[in-house]
């Protein structure tokens, strides 16, 4: 390596470090800035895993660069310590690098098992306030949020009280989508003909960005939405406001809403027909196949089907 290359390399690394520091101070890194218990727990799993991995990665990097330098051709060690057959007596080392990573992976396995159960997206969250239900329909290309308890519906804006566990039921009247509010927690797929569930809660007020994670066609990029966590009183006012303009969501107005649109603005509906969500889901069920759901029981009726390939 020429002196110039070494200089270039050092300069590059220094630049990278400086850029990273500046970035870290200015960026708004959603996943590392959780606003709810689910996102917090998930972020902590990311950190724990990173730390455990570092136990292997750091030695690998140290050895890689140390060996590369020490045993380079022309160096002192390469001349005096070189041993073209070195290998056989080292079964101890061999055992070490099977066993050490295995132990780390064993620990990670335990974390995987426990956290998969603790953070099962279907598992309702515990809190002092009673939970609320929001039904979500992924459409071409917007999100429809139906509030069965409030009798209203909104498009591309989902508002709920802070500190209240929210139980989302999701389906799609469109290709597969994935419902994701990074600062509140992980995503879940929304698929036609079935219902998935997601439990989230905001522990602080604010507007949080929501996205669709799964490509669903031309207007996919416009499927960004806002998740707004507000105090209970403000939420009540929002519900009242949504009810001021009379825009009923019936089978027929739903049919026009379901037409493909891109970058759909926020809009509200009230009143919403009671079994709309169930009928959207049942739309894809074959009549007479025994798979029809009673709309009243959609709440958890589909659970058993979700992973039947």
């Amino acid at each position: 390596m020429s002196r110039f290359s070494v200089f270039l390399l050092c300069a590059g690394v220094a630049l990278l470090v400086v850029a990273t520091v500046i970035y870290a101070q200015h960026a708004n890194i959603a996943i590392l800035d959780p606003a709810g218990p689910v996102a917090l727990a998930e972020r902590n799993i990311i950190f724990t895993t990173l730390l455990l991995c570092a136990l292997v990665v750091v030695p690998v990097f140290v050895m890689l660069f140390a060996f590369s330098w020490r045993y380079r051709e022309g160096g002192h060690a390469a001349l005096h310590e070189h041993h073209s057959e070195w290998d056989h007596y080292n079964w101890v080392a061999e055992v070490v690098w099977w066993v050490v990573p295995a132990i780390i992976i064993f620990i990670l396995g335990i974390i995987a098992w426990q956290s998969s159960h603790a953070l099962d997206p279907y598992k309702p969250l515990q809190a002092n306030t009673p939970s609320m239900t929001i039904d979500v329909v992924a459409l071409d290309w917007k999100w429809l949020f139906i509030y069965p308890e409030q009798g209203i519906a909104s498009v591309n804006l989902v508002e709920f009280p802070v500190g209240t566990p929210v139980h989302f039921y999701l389906t799609a009247d469109a290709p597969m989508n994935s419902f994701w509010i990074p600062q509140l927690g992980g995503q879940i797929m929304a698929m036609p003909g079935m219902t998935t569930q997601l439990n989230l809660m905001a522990s602080r007020t604010g507007d949080f960005n929501g996205f669709s994670g799964n490509i669903s066609g031309d207007g996919f990029s416009g499927m960004a939405f806002t998740a707004r966590a507000v105090p209970q009183t403000q939420f009540d006012q929002w519900v009242t406001a949504a009810k001021t303009g009379l825009a009923p969501l019936t089978e027929s107005s739903y049919a026009s809403l379901a037409q493909p649109t891109e970058y759909n603005p926020v809009s509200y509906y009230w009143p919403v027909s009671v079994d709309l969500f169930g009928s959207v889901e049942n739309k894809y069920m074959t009549p007479g196949s025994g798979m029809m759901m009673d709309p009243a029981s959609t709440a958890d009726g589909m659970q058993g089907m979700n992973m039947t390939p």
Binding site: A30, L32, C53, V56, G109, S116, G213, M285, T308
Partner: protein, 661 residues
Amino acid sequence: MNWQELIFGKLSWSVLPQNPIAWGGAIYMVACILAVLAFVTFSGSWRWLWKEWFTSLDPKKIGIMYITVAGIMLVRGGVDALLLRAQQATSVGDSFGIVSANHFQQIFSAHGSIMIFFVAMGLMFGLINLVVPLQIGTRDVAFPFLNSLSFWLFFAGAALINCSLLLGDFSTAGWLAYPPLSELQYSPTVGVDYWIWGLQIGGLGSLLSGVNFIATIVKKRAKGMTWMRLPMFTWTTLGSMSLVVFAFPILTVTLALLWLDRTAGMHFFTAGGGGNMMMYVNLIWAWGHPEVYILILPAFGVFSEIVPVFSSKKLAGYTSMVLSIWAIVVLSFIVWLHHFFTMGAEADVNAFFGIMTAVIAVPTGVKIFNWLFTMYRGRIRFTTPMLWFIGFVVLFTLGGVAGVVMAEPPADYELHNSLFLVAHFHTMIVSGVLFGYFAGLTYWFPKFFGFTFDEKWGRRAFWLWLTGFILAFGPLYLLGLEGATRRLDHYSAALGWQPLFAVAGVGAVLIALGFCCQVAQLIASIRKRHANKVGSDPWRGRTLEWSVASPPPAYNFAALPLVHARDQFWAYKHTKIHHDMQAEDFHMPKESAAGLIIATFVFAFGFGAVWHIWWLVIFGALGAIVTALARTFDEDAEYVVTASEIVHREAGLRRDEAITV
């Protein structure tokens, strides 16, 4: 159905490109093809190409053809990548970038499909064809004709996918085309059909190659080459080909079912009508996850060859290395569900697949430790292949950590479908697969051309690829953490993502420059071929391929080698125990155009199936079957080379001129 539909199916003038960028691609492709045809015609090389290359059954020539096609496809996939980066760097707020959403989706679908199927697979089969027969001390593969057919099917698949540049459009459903988006209801154009048949035909070639190389490695090893004397690249090839044989039939069936859905009105995966899209997702990943290991295992094999040679030391932990290959082979079949933890499976299911995924890190980690301990107490020459290796370890380890993080299902809920995931798998495939094959190409280049691959340009290429990669994908990890999902053709300015996308764009340009350096490397190598001429063993190699002349004769070995040791050639150089058997008469396959002809018929079949030109489908199918049958009854497919002829020829080749230990 009117007569036009009967003759032309869905083809009409309106299928030509609809916008300037699409026209640019189409014209560029057509111009390139015309330029090549003109060059070949004016230089009068048609006869030579036909006789020496197109109809050749020599795996060395087939290997070089694979790599050539893969190189051309790398340009196509690379231009796609640059367009993607340009779009995401500019399409923010009020600006909607350079291409429409639909076109953007076609580009990323094509980028993924082409890079995996026709670049990575092509480089892999190319290297396997070149190296495996020589490494195991044989003159040919088990089924030489089948090998040629595999290559031409691979070529036909690549050609079919690229037809979509000029005629019709390509899939917009991503490289794995999840239904119901890929169903007729949401993708009514021929795009998904191009995807289906391009992959189906290329995949058939891969499956046949898998069978061929398993048979070759199992049955055609030199005398004395017991399993535990098998060179590492051959071991990894055997692992990879075993995966091909088990995984590719799943792909074949899945694609066929999707096509039936689209063409025959069936309902395997549709939304409604009793279809189940989740079955598709399971099936495609039951192939898709092993596919990743199909690609990476031979790259591991390349590193297991390079590190000992350039460290002048035997590989540490050979037995561990073999065990880890097979651990990976088995485990790779029980992790597929980690691609869709977010589909709502029960916690038990997610946890099982999460744990299995993390477990794969153990055998992979063991391989890295063994490479490092091969360097320990070695005498390391930092040639370009070693640089690719160092770059690989750095990036692959970090990318692997990202993979272990995402193996924890709850962490994956947050990271799935984000650019973090995109950055992760690019790290694994670029630094693992691509760097591995670049290292392998540089390492084995002198063996097949008789002169070295230019070091100076090779180093430039490496540094540009490495810095380019860090700049292109570092920002994607961060964007993923910021909540950026994959495949966005546009995003709001308020998100503040543009600077990072811009940096990623700069990185992509550096990678493109790195590729240009590799082209320059090839040109420089050819220009300096006389000055850089090498003998049979330029690197102080350890395995049998270095014992024959560079380039090797068509028959590889004048007399088949007799193997006494693991690193047979190394052992020979130290002990000078003669390692050849007595020269005998042997058979060699004659060249055959049947592979090319069958693949042409299959291409016609695929094109007909895409455009619903049913007479062409029948014509293609019948033609392929009849040609295959005709070839089966051809009893004049071999010629005999006599021992005396060999002795005469070998006298003219100076073997082992400069064997150094």
